[in-house]
């Protein structure tokens, strides 16, 4: 599987200009500093870090929402630099994104069927009947019913909405799916269902995931490779077992130490420390 690299990022930078005011000088904030990464087809790269570390900025560049300041992104052999070339249908078709908040990412006045068909309407010239068939097929694939086709987002629970958002993302049969904290807003048991769904879809459609998360237990479960970001820089990058087994950077170690332990031994230790 090595060699078949679907996502190749070299020396990626993103700088935001901060406007000056009466008392403040204009300055620049570099949100992503020199990121390099390779993701092989059909695998999952997890990007971990705290808020403000640049992981969502990275996601925005990968999904062509934002342009990079410098550096190269290559998806499935196709170079991406939207500030120079703009976005073509072909590029859009390769990468899709699922956002964190399933309540904010669906238009409340759009029926589910329309939500799912919109990417096809915009990017292909498929006839309406075919679009509908494909939407119904996708609903079934993500574990929803055909009768959900005509309903509005407010009629669904958080987990169901996230299923809809996933279905929308895979309507275009993308190669690469960027998942920006897809399970953070969900309950534990619903989280398990969504993670299972993602695993099934990956196997079935050969999808490649860039999975952004701050929850290390989820990352350990789903990732093949892990990248830890801190203040825009990559401080740790390796296979899951390397990173979890032998963290090198002090920030990664802090992160591991801060993750709550739910095993019986650590509870026993805590209670003993408290009693003493």
């Amino acid at each position: 599987m090595s060699g078949d690299v679907i996502l190749k990022v070299r020396d990626l930078y993103r700088t935001y200009d901060i406007k000056g005011g009466l008392f403040k000088k204009a300055s620049a904030l570099t949100a992503v500093k020199g990121v390099n990464l390779d993701v092989e087809r059909g695998t999952t790269l997890a990007v971990v870090g705290e808020s403000g570390c640049g992981k969502s900025t990275l996601a925005r560049m990968l999904t062509m929402i934002d342009a990079q300041t410098s550096g190269t992104i290559e998806v499935d052999g196709l170079p991406i630099d939207i500030s120079k070339t703009g976005i073509s249908r072909e590029m859009r078709q390769k990468v899709q994104i699922v956002f964190q908040n399933p309540y904010g990412s669906l238009n409340p006045r759009q029926k589910i069927g329309h939500v799912l068909e919109e990417p096809l309407l915009l990017n292909t010239s498929m006839p309406a009947a075919e679009r509908r068939d494909l939407a119904l097929e996708m609903l079934a694939k993500v574990g929803l019913q055909p009768e959900h086709y005509g309903r509005y987002p407010h009629m669904f629970s958080g987990g169901q909405r996230q299923r809809i958002a996933i279905a929308r993302a895979i309507m275009m049969k993308p190669k690469l799916l960027v998942l920006d904290e897809p399970v953070s807003a969900l309950d534990l048991s619903v989280q398990a269902q969504i993670l299972n769904l993602l695993a099934d879809l990956q196997e079935e459609m050969g999808l490649t995931y860039v999975f952004i998360s701050h929850d290390l237990s989820v990352v350990r479960y789903i990732a093949d490779k892990v990248m830890v970001m801190y203040f825009g820089e990559v401080v740790e990058y390796g296979t899951r077992d390397e990173v979890f087994g032998n963290p090198q950077h002090s920030y990664t170690k802090t992160l591991f130490a801060a993750t709550p332990n739910a095993d019986v031994d650590s509870i026993r230790k805590r209670l003993a420390a408290k009693a003493a």
Partner: protein, 278 residues
């Protein structure tokens, strides 16, 4: 006598489709110096129970209980004025969204001082000194300067520290924390949990942690109540809950933790619901 004792608490909401039972006969007791965790998914009634105790539910809610006592004081019969004397002083609460819980139009110093002036009758000068003291105790750097900061000038973790400072301002006997760390990063979560537990041990107050995160339960609780769809599934001390969960729902919750995953697929609660019947 327990600090808080509630027997057979029921909460119903009037909706367009008729009454909706959010909580169906649950008992809660908390002793002074104890950390009780209430765990459950959304819709399990864990927040509703504590909002009912605080008297913060809207008018559409009907609350009934056989007993609802805080230090022997019957909370059911309190009128609004008497309730205000207790709530915010002896019982206080921290909410999930720290940034939304603070008023964006006032400085944190003003908002903290307000509590102290209302409940403790402190003068402006005394209140200010006490606020600096409180901000120091919750670990805000340069507290004297931060008094004039507005909530939007602080990070989420700092806002939550301010909320905690506000909640402990009048040395409450019972602190209710409703998902206090859900909106925060893991590293900040650790700091906030450590802070809460430290304050709880120093002052000997009772602490109720409402959460859906089993990790948070494992790190803080003495005793745990597991709720599902408005009913209590299990009540146990923290060690026996994790070591030998009795109820099928608790077992389902624990096995849905990704770190407990053994096979390729995560078991979900519905897998257990079919087999265990709850």
């Amino acid at each position: 006598m327990p600090l808080l004792e509630i027997r057979n608490l029921k909460v119903e909401f009037d909706t367009a489709k008729g009454p909706f039972k959010a909580l169906d006969g649950v008992d809660y007791t908390v002793d002074a110096g104890e950390v009780l965790a209430i765990v459950g998914e959304s819709g399990s009634g864990k927040s509703v129970a504590m909002l009912a105790t605080m008297g913060l539910l809207p008018n559409t809610a009907t609350i009934t209980a056989d007993k609802m006592e805080f230090e022997g004081l019957d909370l059911r019969s309190l009128n609004a004025k008497a309730r205000r004397k207790v709530i915010g002083k002896d019982i206080s609460m921290i909410f999930q969204e720290p940034i939304a819980s603070l008023n964006p139009c006032f400085t944190v110093g003003f908002q903290l001082g307000e509590t102290l002036k209302t409940h403790m009758g402190l003068s402006g000068r005394q209140a200010k000194d006490r606020v600096v003291e409180l901000l120091t105790s919750v670990g805000i750097p340069n507290p004297a300067e931060r008094l004039s900061a507005f909530p939007h000038q602080m990070s989420g973790g700092q806002c939550q520290r301010v909320m905690i400072a506000m909640a402990i301002a009048c040395s409450p006997k019972l602190l209710i924390a409703d998902e206090p760390t859900t909106a925060l990063d893991v590293t900040i979560q650790k700091q906030i949990l450590d802070l809460l537990v430290k304050l709880q041990q120093q002052s000997g107050m009772g602490l109720i942690m409402i959460t859906h995160d089993m990790g948070v339960v494992a790190e803080t609780a003495d005793r745990v109540i597991v709720q599902y769809k408005g009913r209590k599934m299990e009540e146990a001390d923290v060690l026996s809950l994790f070591e030998s969960p009795k109820n099928p729902y608790t077992r389902a919750l624990l096995s849905a933790l990704p770190e407990n995953a053994t096979g390729d697929r995560l078991p979900t609660v519905s897998d257990f619901a079919e087999a265990g019947g709850f």
